[in-house]
């Protein structure tokens, strides 16, 4: 039983940690051929190239800018819309409408919408990619917040009104502080939706908006696996930090408030 437990733990560690390790090792090599199990030498040249103005830096900054914009816009818009949906008499139907673009494959949605983006001169632009990514991040955010607007929140709003507070006051002083942990989680999640996005960005961005996911695909098709691994490391670093923060602070905060 004890040995089985150890074996299971080992398998979990290997399955979860080996991918991260392998990608980091690959990013520090320039030559690692079959049948070598380990690279003959390690080099920092890939990372140095990155720090001295390689196009990866631009992609990193661009991905960050797009993801932060999406996180802010989608969280705000989703929060406002979810309240309307949650208190609407036709909540179920409106929620179904919200689900629709979220469940359709982003790349298929993108090829269907490409015509309109071309007509609006938004294809191949950062603004176009942000707008397109909002189509998948906004529904997620709205669905995420729908559960927040429960009877308890409604009672708090009524209490503030009874005591003479305006709805703006209730929103600022009661709703926002109560929603803070959820707003943070939603910010992280929508950031990650944008950060992970490939299909929609590649179609609407026309290859001109070179986010990190686009770079990875480009490096893979060019068979430049070491640069691809480096881009992969850059892609998984922020999610790892966010997930760690999510787990360490936000989940704990939630447990503490129970």
């Amino acid at each position: 039983m004890f040995r089985k437990q150890i074996l299971f733990k080992l398998m979990v560690l290997v399955a979860c940690a080996v991918p991260v390790l392998l990608l980091f090792i690959l990013s520090f090599t320039a030559n690692w051929r079959f049948p070598d199990l380990f690279p003959k030498s390690l080099t920092t040249s890939n990372w140095t190239d990155l720090l001295t103005g390689n196009s990866n830096t631009q992609s990193l900054l661009l991905s960050l800018a797009i993801a932060i914009s999406i996180a802010i816009l989608a969280t705000m818009a989703g929060f406002v819309t979810s309240q309307w949906i949650a208190y609407h008499p036709n909540k179920k139907q409106l929620l179904l409408l919200t689900y629709l673009p979220f469940v359709v494959s982003p790349v298929i949605l993108a090829v269907c919408l490409k015509f309109y983006f071309i007509k609006m001169n938004l294809a191949g632009t950062v603004a176009g990619v942000v707008l397109a990514q909002l189509i998948i991040a906004f529904p997620y955010s709205t669905i995420f917040f729908t559960g927040f607007w429960n009877r308890r929140i409604q009672q708090y709003q009524s209490l503030v009104s009874t005591l003479g507070g305006s709805s703006a006051f209730a929103f600022r002083k009661v709703i926002l502080p109560m929603a803070k942990p959820m707003l943070l989680v939603c910010f992280f999640q929508t950031f990650l939706i944008s950060w992970f996005e490939y299909g929609l960005t590649s179609v609407i961005g026309y290859g001109k908006v070179q986010t990190l996911t686009i770079k990875v695909y480009q490096f893979v098709t060019e068979a430049n696996i070491f640069y691809a691994a480096l881009s992969c490391c850059l892609l998984i670093l922020p999610p790892v930090i966010f997930l760690w923060l999510n787990k360490k602070f936000i989940f704990r905060q939630g447990e503490g408030s129970e």
Binding site: V12, L13, L22, W84, L96, L97, P101, T213, V220
Partner: protein, 284 residues
């Protein structure tokens, strides 16, 4: 419902970012596939739809996507159920409560790239087999990526989805108080096997069903993983549609749009069926 500025803003946001994109996108695709708009606009025709149904490629692609997604979902949920029932304590504290989150930090593209490096004929697993004298050359290692059975695609999808299902089901196990029910069942004479398979598993599957179906839908429409790890025939639906739409042959474009419409109709039908009988909210 009062007509307040905030409600008007919310309804406009819902229209602009949810309803209009889908209606406009699918509407355009439908018109294009019927020959009513686009570069080949001529007159109304069913020809593109006939070609889509007659060439067999589309039907195979839908079945192939469904089979791979179903396999990945069954393996992931099966593993997650086993972990939830037998090993759930492991992920509640200590290093493993962090490690389980690592695969969730992988974008699909990165996961596909990793498994390309890991499972290919010259990949890490093949090198390990070679160094252990289990194979004698690159060619001796079996095809695990770009293969007929989509093994690479399934493994990658399981890697990405299994931790999610483990976290989901362990959380449900706690909130649904499954332990209390198991205790009750055992005190009424059920043995461990009966309590697990007749109580815990059905309870968790019933509660998690909407999320499992949603995950199946996401896998069915996946693009990044099959485009890197799949083969050109058969292809998954998204890859087939995008290939037809981005090829230089103009006559393939209406068929690509027809496939996109078919796919959207399939997904929306599944969602409508899911919504009809259940109250669902996206689990986070």
């Amino acid at each position: 419902m009062k007509l307040r500025p905030v409600n008007i803003t919310a309804s406009i946001l819902l229209l602009v970012f949810s309803v209009i994109p889908l209606v406009a996108g699918v509407g355009y695709a439908l018109l294009y596939s019927l020959g009513l708009t686009g570069a080949l606009q001529n007159e109304f025709t069913w020809l593109n739809w006939q070609k889509v149904f007659n060439d067999g490629q589309t039907v195979i692609s839908f079945l192939y996507s469904a089979a791979l997604s179903l396999a990945a979902v069954i393996i992931s949920v099966g593993l997650a159920l086993w972990v939830t029932i037998k090993q759930r304590g492991l992920f509640t504290k200590g290093i493993f409560s962090y490690v389980i989150y690592l695969p969730l930090a992988f974008p699909a593209m990165v996961a596909a790239f990793f498994f390309f490096q890991f499972l290919s004929k010259a990949g890490i697993l093949s090198r390990l087999f070679y160094n252990l004298n289990l194979t004698d050359s690159v060619g001796g290692f079996p095809d695990l990526i770009n293969d007929r059975f989509g093994i690479g695609i399934i493994v990658t999808q399981v890697f990405l989805s299994c931790p999610f299902f483990i976290l989901l089901l362990t959380n449900m196990y706690k909130t649904e108080k499954v332990d209390d029910y198991l205790l009750l069942a055992k005190s009424l004479g059920a043995n461990a096997r009966q309590a697990t398979f007749r109580l815990a598993v059905p309870m968790l599957l019933h509660k998690g069903f909407p999320t499992i179906v949603l995950y199946f839908i996401f896998m069915f429409g996946a693009y990044e993983i099959p485009v890197l790890l799949g083969r050109s025939s058969p292809e998954m639906v998204s890859v087939l549609a995008v290939r037809k739409l981005q090829k230089f042959n103009l006559y393939d474009i209406p068929q690509g749009y027809a496939i996109a419409v078919l796919y959207t109709f399939f997904v929306l039908t599944l969602i409508a069926l899911l919504f009809r009988n259940r109250k669902i909210a996206y689990d986070v």
